[in-house]
Symmetry: C2
Subunit: 337 residues, 2 copies
């Protein structure tokens, strides 16, 4: 249980229920295109009843990152909560089948395994409706000290701020990681999620809880409440944490590539070319996976970001947020690994 990990991910354990749709359906269902919206069980049933034929694959932002990093060779673990039902079994199976260690016991009662209804429009944009279900049972007892202390990087989802007990699990992990001298990474997850927890996320950045930040430009603009992407990037560049240090931050900008923000500098990495945008679900998750796997291999930040861009490009060219190609082979063919 406490053999060293390159990466330990805490996240909501979610199975994606994916359907193709069109903008008219999103409008009729009154959902914000491109965002993640929390829904209750009743709404989940109503939405499922009217959506199109579905494909079910494991998801969860942090879990997608864990799988991508493991496929790129990082020794990775995951902490999250499922129920002992069919979809929970799928989620656990898929982590183990990709080499991610996962030993949090499934809940034996209470709500079902979380599911995210992912609506994919013809432009490849995904709109997410999440029923948190069993994720609400994640709590500090699920965070084992020895496991967390063994991980060089602990990666946390901003989405963990949604289920109340998960926030305490998050804080416990930060304390253990820093006590062991390891790094803590945070993804801002979603612009609306940032809207819900803006002050708390800024506090985490400024009080030294976070060493590495992942965000897309929309989330960053939400964090700094600005319409100007460059202003948001500059504000981030100038952040210093409680120890007077600059953060390492990775900011993705879709087809415009990514920015590596460190030590008062902003360096850009281009997006990896794609043939066709099929489903953007998991783009940010896989960028983080590639970056963190590169980091674990001792690559420099820019090369790690290129690996992130490559993993993101792979995942947006098919349905679902888990890689379908051999990422190591792909990276080798591009001269990144």
């Amino acid at each position: 249980m406490s053999s060293p990990l390159d990466l330990l991910v805490l996240g909501n354990a979610i199975v994606d229920v994916i359907a193709r749709t069109d903008d008219g359906f999103l409008a009729a269902q009154n959902v914000a295109k491109g965002a993640m919206q929390l829904i209750d069980e009743e709404r989940a049933e109503a939405l499922f009843a009217v959506m199109g034929p579905a494909t079910i694959v494991s998801g969860g932002s942090g879990a997608n990152t864990a799988v991508g990093a493991a496929l790129l060779g990082a020794k990775t673990g995951f902490i999250g909560k499922v129920r002992n039902d069919e979809l929970g079994g799928l989620f656990a199976h898929d982590l183990k089948a990709t080499g991610v260690s996962f030993s949090v016991p499934a809940a034996t009662d209470g709500p079902a395994t979380a599911r995210c209804f992912v609506l994919v429009t013809p432009d490849g944009e995904r709109t997410m409706n999440t029923y948190l279900g069993a994720c609400q049972g994640l709590n500090p007892a699920d965070v084992e000290e020895a496991v967390v202390a063994s991980a060089r990087v602990v990666y946390l989802e901003g989405y963990l701020w949604d289920p109340p007990a998960a926030k305490e699990a998050f804080r416990k992990a930060v304390k253990i990681a820093h006590g062991a001298g390891n790094a803590v990474a945070l993804t801002l997850s979603d612009a609306f999620c940032v809207g819900r927890y803006r002050e708390e996320f800024l506090d985490l950045i400024r009080d030294g809880s976070i060493d590495i930040l992942f965000a897309n430009i929309g989330e960053l603009q939400s964090l700094y409440e600005t319409d100007d992407p460059d202003a948001a990037l500059k504000a981030l560049r100038d952040e210093r944490n409680g120890r007077g240090l600059h953060l390492l931050a990775l900011v993705t900008r879709s087809s415009e590539g990514a920015a590596v923000v460190k030590g008062g500098e902003i360096r850009t990495v281009p997006a990896s070319p794609i043939d066709e945008l099929v489903d953007s679900t998991g783009a940010g998750d896989l960028f983080a996976a590639g970056f963190l796997a590169g980091h674990a291999r001792g690559l420099d930040h820019v090369t790690s970001a290129r690996l992130g861009a490559l993993a993101a490009a792979e995942v947006i060219q098919h349905i679902g947020a888990r890689p379908q190609s051999d990422l190591v082979k792909l990276a080798r063919s591009r001269g990144i690994l």
Copy 2:
């Protein structure tokens, strides 16, 4: 419930659990490549535990045909049995979401909804391991006389010979359909399935139970126990049923296209071109869907077979046995509709 249908399908109600694999895994698991093998619950759990990350989509040979025909404009119904569990909910949802009427009540106890572990090798071939679960509960009471009598074509899976009570449901449907003056179609399903029920299938063909036969060449060779595909085709061409009539038969030959066998003649239709063979699951099912939808539209047999070839080509270019493109649009772009 008894508004007229173009097509009513009786089949095993199965959800596909699909994973990519390699030939070494098939050998290690001792499964016959390309075939459908029945497994029990214990074996299902053991196989799932060792297979790779999975994608879950609705499947079932006949249900795939029903969905394809409905997407091509045929008014279609389905009869099959699920359990009231998560995967059963997915199966029923996906039929309804594609316009297939489905009103057989889900079992409220007994085995879980059937699942087929589909192992896809890099060559695009699929190897199937089916746990029949709730399908074993399909019985004659699920076959409503008014619904069957309303359908111009009743289409039956050879696989229905596996769950014992389903065979009786099958026979009841044949009797009602012929009593109402409608046509009965049968698919031979799988070469090993033909091996299990060869004499009974030949009896069905020869005693006049079947008006339209679908088979791939391997199934036909199994039926006539010959290594020679042309000999099998000729044997089929010369069959006459109990009323002295030739069958209408459609025989698929993968990349070699399909044969339309009728009235002592064999006409061939080329395979529809593809960019890449990704997953051959559903090829035969969608060929039947296209043919039957063309038949329902009043197209001649050869044109209907071309529509079948087109639908088959669509489904083998992605993971899963349900169409992901607009088949009508595709057929129009090729001048078939």
